[in-house]
C-alpha cells in the first residue's frame, strides 16, 4: 500500500481489516455474506480468500447470534469484528449489545475483557428501502460500556478501525455508507490521531459547525458556501460519539462564540442535544447565540424519494448558520 494514495473509504476499511488480521491472528471477521461475496458493500472483499473460512466467518442470518457468539469468542481470547449488514438490522442484536456486551467487563469486576468491534454501515442518502438508512448512534451512545466512532475519510477509516480492534473495549464503528465510494488520501505512515480525538478540518472564526461521519462533507460544503458570503465557519469532525472530545469543541466555540451541530439522526434526544447541553455549560459566557441543531425529524425515516428533505443538506445547514449568526 502506497503512502498518500487516494482511495475509497470502503477500500480503506478493507485494508484496515487486512492489516489487523495480519498483525494479530486472534482477529476474526464475521457476519452475513462477508466471505465469498465480500459483504453486500464488498468491504470484506478478498479477505476470506486470503485468511480462510476459519477467520472470515459467514454466519447464519441472525444478528443476536452474531453478536452473542462474538462475545463468546472474545471471552475465549479472540478479537471478533462483527459486521451488521445494515443499520436497521442491528436491533435484533440490541439486547446482546446492551445487556451483555456493554456490561460484561464491569460485571466481572474487570477480570474479563470483551474486545468486540461491531461494524455498521449507517445513514441515508443511497436511495435504499426501509430499515437500510437508519442512524442509531445515540441509542448506543447512551449505554455505558460501549464506545462509538464514525470516520469521515479514508485515513480515519483505516486507522480508527485498527485502533478499535486493538483496544480492549467494545466499539461500534459506524461506517458512512453513502461515502463508501468517496476517495480521499490514505496516509498509512504518519502517526494517527488518538481514536477519540475530534479534529478541526477547516478553521474559521465566526461559527463552529460540528458533524461526524457522513455529515462532515456537508459541513465542509456549507463552510465553503458561507465563505463565499463572507462568513468564516470552522468545521469540527467529531470522529467519536462516545466519548466526545468536548475539549476540542469547547476551544473552537470559545473562539467563534457560535455552534451548530449537524447529524442525520433525529434531533430529538440526539447527539446534538448532548453536545448543546455540555457546550452551553462549558461555554455559557462565550456563546453569542444558542446552540442550534440540524438533523432528522421525529418521524420514521422516509421513503427514499423524500430522504433529501429529511437529511440535513446544504440549505438547511446554511439556514441554521444564518440563524445563529443573526443573534
Amino acid at each position: 500500500m502506497a503512502v498518500h494514495e487516494k482511495i475509497t473509504i470502503a477500500k480503506a476499511i478493507n485494508a484496515s481489516l487486512r492489516a489487523s488480521m495480519e498483525a494479530d491472528p486472534k482477529v476474526l471477521v464475521m457476519g452475513e455474506d462477508v466471505g465469498k461475496l465480500g459483504g453486500v458493500f464488498r468491504v470484506t472483499d478478498g479477505l476470506q480468500k486470503d485468511f480462510g473460512e476459519d477467520r472470515v466467518i459467514d454466519t447464519p442470518l441472525a444478528e443476536s447470534g452474531i453478536i452473542g457468539t462474538a462475545i463468546g469468542l472474545a471471552l475465549r481470547g479472540y478479537r471478533p469484528v462483527a459486521e451488521i449488514q445494515f443499520d436497521g438490522f442491528v436491533f435484533p442484536a440490541y439486547d446482546q449489545i446492551v445487556t451483555q456486551l456493554a456490561k460484561m467487563h464491569a460485571r466481572a469486576l474487570g477480570k474479563v475483557k470483551v474486545p468486540v468491534v461491531i461494524r455498521i454501515p449507517y445513514g441515508g442518502g443511497i436511495g435504499a428501502v426501509e430499515h437500510h438508512s437508519e442512524s442509531p448512534e445515540s441509542l448506543f451512545a447512551h449505554v455505558a460500556g460501549l464506545k462509538i466512532v464514525s470516520p469521515s475519510n479514508s485515513s480515519d477509516a483505516y486507522w480508527m478501525l485498527q485502533q478499535a480492534i486493538a483496544g480492549d473495549d467494545p466499539v461500534i464503528y459506524f461506517e458512512p455508507k453513502r461515502r463508501y465510494h468517496d476517495k480521499s488520501r490514505l496516509d498509512t505512515e504518519s502517526i494517527p490521531d488518538p481514536l477519540h480525538k475530534a479534529r478541526i478540518t477547516r478553521p474559521g472564526s465566526d461559527l463552529t459547525l460540528v458533524g461526524y461521519g457522513p455529515m462532515v462533507k456537508v459541513c465542509e460544503d456549507v463552510a465553503k458556501v458561507a465563505a463565499e458570503e463572507g462568513k468564516s465557519v470552522e468545521v469540527v469532525d467529531l470522529r467519536s460519539i462516545s466519548p466526545i472530545d468536548f475539549d476540542t469543541v469547547q476551544s473552537s466555540v470559545e473562539k467563534t462564540g457560535r455552534l451548530v451541530v449537524v447529524h442525520e439522526a433525529p434531533v430529538f434526544f440526539g447527539s446534538g442535544a448532548e453536545i448543546a447541553a455540555r457546550i452551553t455549560e462549558r461555554c455559557f459566557y462565550h456563546l453569542e447565540a444558542p446552540v442550534l441543531r440540524v438533523g432528522g425529524f421525529h418521524a420514521p425515516y422516509p421513503p427514499s424519494r423524500l430522504e433529501d428533505e429529511y437529511l440535513p443538506g446544504l440549505d438547511r445547514v446554511l439556514d441554521a448558520v444564518d440563524r445563529a449568526l443573526a443573534y
Binding site: 476459519d54 447464519p60 447470534g65 452473542g68 472474545a74 464491569a106 466481572a108 469486576l109 474479563v112 466519548p243
Partner: protein, 405 residues
C-alpha cells in the same frame, strides 16, 4: 379450565388410549388453549426418560448410558447435593432476614446440577443462568461469592476464568450464545475441552436459544445445552413455552436431544458426560433436557401458591433427588449413621460460614460506580468520577469545618 375444555383437549391429542369415545377433531379453541399434559411425559415419552436410579432408590440400567461409580464417588454426589441444598436454604433464610435483596432457590434441582456439574472436566467452561448454585459448587466457586449480586454489593462477584464458570446471566437465554461463541473459539484453538450452557424451560422460548442451536449446529461447536425443565417459568407452565417435549427440539436443528430424569443424579451425570465426550470428539452439540421440578418459588419475590397446586409439589417431593440417593446408599450399605451425621454437621458449618460471610460483606466504596465501566478508560467516565469525588469530598470538608467550630 372447564371440564368441557379438558375433554376437548384430550380429544385434540388424538390417538391417545383415553380418547376413544369422540372422534379426534382438533378445534381452534383446543389448539390455542393451554394443556397441562402436552409437555408432560406421556407413557411413550416416559420410555425416553433416561433413568438410572428410581424414586424408590433402586438402581436400573439404561442401554445407552451406563455408569459405574465407586461408593466413595456416590457418597461424594450425596455430599454435594446435601451441602448445596443447605447453602440454598441458608440463602433463602438470609433473604427473609433482609440480608439479601433476592434469592433464586435451586430446591429440587440438586441432582440436575450436581450430576451435570460433576460430569465436567476442569478445562470445560460453564455458562450458567442465575440458579446454578450447585454447578458453581462443583466448579469450586466459593458459595459466598454467589451472594454478592443478591446482596447488592456487586453485579458479578467472581473471576469467570479462575474456575471456568461464567457470571450469572439474568436475561434468560443470552448465555447460550456466549457458550456457543466460546465453543467456536475452543474449536479454533484445537482444544478438546467442551462448553456447557445452562438454561431453563422458559428460556427455551427465547430467540437467542434458537440462534445458539443454529450456530452450534452449523459450526459443529463443542457445546452441550443443558436445559433444566423445572416445569415453571415463574408462573408459566412449560406448555406455555412449547408444544413438543423440549428435548425433541434439537432434532430440528440437526443434533440429538435426550430427556433425562432430572431428579436422578446418576442419570444426569451419565448423560451429561456422554454429551460432553461427544462434543469433545468433534461430534457437535447436544441438548440435554433434565426433567425436574422447582420445589420452591421462582425467586423469593414469587408466590407459587397463586398458580400451582400443592398436590403437584407433593408428587414431585416423592421423587426428591437427595432422598432417593440416600435410600440407595443405605440399602447398599455405603453409608452409615455416623457418615450421615457427619454430613449434617458439615452442612451446619457451611450454613454458619455463609451467614457470617454475608453479614460481614461491606458495602462497596461509592467510587466503585465508575470502576471497570471501560477497560481502556473513557473521558466522560473520568469527568463524572472526578465531579462525584469532589462532591463527596465536599461533605468531608463540611464535616471537618463543623468539627472545627
Amino acid at each position: 379450565m372447564t371440564v368441557e375444555g379438558t375433554a376437548e383437549r384430550k380429544t385434540a391429542r388424538g390417538g391417545s388410549k383415553r380418547t376413544t369415545a369422540k372422534k379426534a377433531t382438533p378445534t381452534k379453541k383446543a389448539t390455542q388453549s393451554g394443556t397441562r399434559n402436552s409437555a408432560q411425559p406421556d407413557e411413550a415419552e416416559q420410555d425416553q426418560l433416561v433413568q438410572l436410579l428410581t424414586p424408590e432408590g433402586k438402581r436400573v440400567e439404561h442401554p445407552d448410558y451406563a455408569i459405574d461409580l465407586s461408593p466413595e464417588e456416590l457418597r461424594g454426589l450425596y455430599r454435594d447435593m446435601v451441602l448445596t441444598r443447605r447453602f440454598d436454604a441458608e440463602a433463602t433464610t438470609l433473604q427473609r432476614q433482609g440480608e439479601l435483596g433476592l434469592w433464586a432457590s435451586l430446591l429440587g434441582q440438586e441432582a440436575a446440577q450436581i450430576g451435570s456439574g460433576r460430569a465436567l472436566r476442569d478445562d470445560d467452561y460453564v455458562f450458567p443462568t442465575y440458579r446454578e448454585h450447585g454447578v458453581a459448587w462443583c466448579r469450586g466457586v466459593d458459595p459466598t461469592n454467589l451472594l454478592g449480586m443478591f446482596r447488592g454489593v456487586n453485579n458479578g462477584g467472581w473471576d469467570p476464568n479462575s474456575n471456568n464458570f461464567h457470571l450469572y446471566t439474568i436475561v434468560i437465554g443470552s448465555q447460550t450464545l456466549h457458550a456457543t461463541g466460546y465453543a467456536m473459539g475452543v474449536q479454533k484453538d484445537g482444544a478438546d475441552s467442551a462448553v456447557i450452557a445452562y438454561f431453563g424451560d422458559g428460556a427455551s422460548s427465547q430467540g437467542d436459544v434458537a440462534e445458539s442451536f443454529t450456530f452450534s449446529a452449523v459450526y459443529n461447536a463443542p457445546v452441550v445445552f443443558f436445559c433444566q425443565n423445572n416445569q415453571w417459568a415463574i408462573s408459566e407452565p412449560t406448555e406455555k413455552q412449547t408444544r413438543v417435549p423440549l428435548y425433541q427440539r434439537a432434532r430440528g436443528f440437526g443434533f440429538p436431544g435426550v430427556r433425562v430424569d432430572g431428579n436422578d443424579v446418576l442419570a444426569c451425570l451419565a448423560v451429561t458426560k456422554a454429551a460432553l465426550d461427544r462434543a469433545r470428539t468433534g461430534q457437535g452439540p447436544m441438548l440435554v433436557e433434565a426433567f425436574t421440578y422447582r420445589m420452591g418459588a421462582h425467586t423469593t419475590s414469587d408466590d407459587p401458591t397463586r398458580y400451582r397446586a400443592d398436590e403437584e409439589r407433593l408428587a414431585w417431593e416423592a421423587k426428591d433427588p437427595i432422598l432417593r440417593l440416600r435410600k440407595y446408599l443405605e440399602a447398599e450399605g455405603f453409608v452409615d449413621d455416623a457418615y450421615l451425621a457427619a454430613i449434617d454437621e458439615e452442612s451446619e458449618t457451611l450454613g454458619k460460614r455463609v451467614r457470617d460471610a454475608v453479614r460481614a460483606m461491606p458495602d462497596p466504596d461509592h467510587m466503585a460506580i465508575f470502576e471497570n465501566a471501560y477497560a481502556d478508560g473513557h473521558a466522560l467516565v473520568d469527568e463524572e468520577r472526578a465531579q462525584f469525588a469532589a462532591y463527596q469530598a465536599s461533605f468531608a470538608d463540611a464535616e471537618a469545618a463543623a468539627e472545627g467550630n
